[in-house]
């Protein structure tokens, strides 16, 4: 355990839309308890939720690793999914590759990455086609 930093790990279950978002809502609860400014809590919760859902929709789940520092929150969501062939395209609002049955449930509207970008202070996408994607979201608390 790194000094001054709280590390959390969550599994993101595959194809489980009912429980998708549990990790981000548990992180949200903790940030509130830590006394983090409500506005920053919201930024963190929404961007993490989008990343979490993306892992469920596109990559058979994955893992979330969260570091909470006094001045920032770093969220890493890793999956072993298909990867994103064209990140620039994926960043466009409304662009989606989600299958119909997912869209029918109200997910996969092509707002995931754009929302992440909107709410995160920094967003890093490390992806390789056929290998997987790691999204790193940073929200500064100060």
């Amino acid at each position: 355990m790194t000094e001054g930093c709280l590390e959390l790990n969550y599994d993101i279950p595959a194809n489980d839309f009912l429980h998708a978002g549990e990790a981000s809502s548990s992180v949200k609860k903790m940030l509130n308890q830590l006394g983090v400014d409500p506005d920053k809590v919201k930024k963190t919760a929404i961007s993490m939720y989008e990343a979490e859902i993306n892992a469920v929709i596109h990559a058979d789940g994955g893992a979330a690793h969260i570091e909470i520092w006094k001045d920032k929150v770093v969220i890493k969501i890793c999956d072993k999914g298909p990867g994103i062939p064209n990140v620039e395209l994926a960043m466009q609002e409304g662009y989606t590759t989600a299958p119909d049955h997912v869209r029918d449930m109200g997910f996969g509207a092509g707002m995931g990455l754009p929302n992440m970008k909107r709410y995160a202070d920094s967003l890093d996408i490390d992806t390789a086609v056929g290998k997987g994607t790691t999204v790193t979201i940073t929200v500064f608390l100060k």
């Binding site: 355990m1 959390l8 308890q33 830590l34 809590v41």
Partner: protein, 442 residues
């Protein structure tokens, strides 16, 4: 108000220290200590959930006693529309209002009538340009207080209009002051309430300096009196002022229906309300302009201080609504002078769940908390007095509990000790050791 006033309190004698209330409290505000369920004041939002679930009726709501009515020269009663659902359908709204008045009031003014004023203002407000949606109704004070402690991001979404109760109290008092030429203090305005949260709103309002309501009496407390009067009464006065739009507020969804838009969401029951507010906070609700969130299942008709089952009450209320519809009274006429119903006070975030003011210390505490939680059995049995293992871990970190409060942990410790004792017991000091028969010594 510096201290916390709460209507919801504990009847020490009746409380058996069971786990029913601690487990249902939406803000984890109750702990059992010394066999009694103590309420953590700063966390309680007066939703009344504990009153409803306590099998021993040990949780109660403090409301004003009827004797208070007689301390005023002129007495006005303002009943919540949920009152109409409490009596058999044969009694008309005028019958009920007359019977209520006969208890010793000089004047009746329906809160439902004031609800129409709030509806009108809300309608106007919703259609203003550049509005931030969704707007969240402030009709249920328990929901507003829930937002204050759990959903700070949604404070801006609250519709900051006076409650129908406050509007009614103000209008009724002003009217009487003019008509009877009385001073403000000579007039007592009494609200007949279905819930505890309203009582707290009067004694410790969050949206204004002080309430216009003089006293709050529960539906439960007037029920028998009104029923007796209903049985005896032959004729009734014409006292109704509200149309169906106002009466409908007692139902979940009633407030929304008056707004003339389909993009509303009505949710009732405090735990369901939390789920919806989570959705809103995470920006996941689309195309909803207005959210009507009520802490009680079935809306105010399901209030903990009502008599009738909320489903029965709903059917009964429907008759009153239909009656008003037949007469084609949607809402009553209102003077525009009552148009300004904005809050004068400011509702702020109450970070009561925070572990520490210093974030570094808070992070440290959270780390310890996580470790403690991992060691606890995870049964959430409540036998320690906290609602869940995680809540116990929180209490330990805050210094309000010990690990051995957990029965399983305690048993582990006892077992360890027992093993140690057995081990010690087996050791025999040489001077006392007779077993070997003093070998080699004669």
């Amino acid at each position: 108000m510096g201290t916390y006033f709460h209507s919801v309190t504990l009847d020490e004698e009746k409380c058996r220290g069971c786990t029913n209330c601690i487990k249902r409290c939406p803000t984890e505000a109750i702990r059992v200590r010394k066999s009694k369920a103590r309420i953590i004041n700063e966390r309680c939002i007066d939703c009344g959930e504990c009153i409803r679930v306590c099998p021993y009726h040990a949780k109660k709501a403090i409301t004003d006693s009827f004797d208070m009515v007689n301390t005023f020269k002129y007495k006005v009663v303002i009943p919540a529309p949920s009152l109409y659902g409490q009596f058999k359908s044969v009694f008309s709204r005028n019958h009920i209002l007359t019977a209520l008045k006969m208890l010793g009031f000089d004047e009746v003014y329906e809160v439902a009538q004031a609800a129409e004023i709030v509806s009108k203002a809300t309608k106007k407000f919703i259609n203003k340009e550049g509005q931030k949606f969704p707007l969240i109704s402030s009709a249920c004070p328990a929901v507003v207080r829930l937002i204050q402690v759990r959903f700070p991001n949604l404070i801006d979404n609250i519709l900051k209009f006076e409650s129908p109760m406050e509007v009614a109290a103000k209008i009724a008092r002003d009217k009487v002051m003019k008509k009877e030429n009385l001073t403000k203090d000579e007039i007592g305005v009494f609200f007949i309430t279905p819930c505890a949260a309203k009582m707290t709103s009067v004694k410790a309002p969050y949206e204004r300096e002080s309430s216009s309501v003089s006293g709050v009496i529960s539906i439960k407390d007037v029920y028998l009196g009104v029923l007796n009067n209903l049985m005896r009464q032959k004729s009734c006065e014409d006292l109704i002022g509200a149309g169906y739009e106002g009466i409908r507020w007692a139902n979940s969804g009633g407030e929304s229906l008056a707004l003339g838009t389909d993009s509303f969401l009505a949710v009732d029951g405090i735990h369901e309300v939390i789920t919806i507010l989570e959705e809103v906070e995470n920006d996941r609700l689309e195309d909803v302009m207005f959210i009507e969130a009520l802490a009680c299942k079935g809306g105010c008709l399901g209030g903990p201080l009502t008599i009738e089952n909320s489903y029965v009450a709903k059917t009964r209320l429907k008759k009153h609504i239909d009656e008003a519809k037949e007469k084609a009274i949607a809402s009553s006429d209102h003077d525009d002078e009552n148009d300004n119903i904005d809050w004068t006070g400011k509702v702020q975030y109450k970070p009561v769940l925070k572990l520490d003011d210093d974030i570094e210390k808070a992070i440290k505490k959270m780390e310890i908390l996580q470790n403690i939680e991992n060691e606890l059995p995870g049964l959430d049995c409540g036998a320690c007095g906290a609602p869940s293992c995680r809540a116990l871990a929180e209490d330990i970190v805050r210094g309000n509990a010990n690990e051995t409060d957990c029965l399983f942990k305690l048993r582990d410790r006892v077992r360890e000790l027992a093993i140690q004792m057995m081990e010690l017991e087996a050791i025999m000091p040489p001077v006392m050791d007779k077993g070997s028969g003093g070998k080699g010594e004669k």
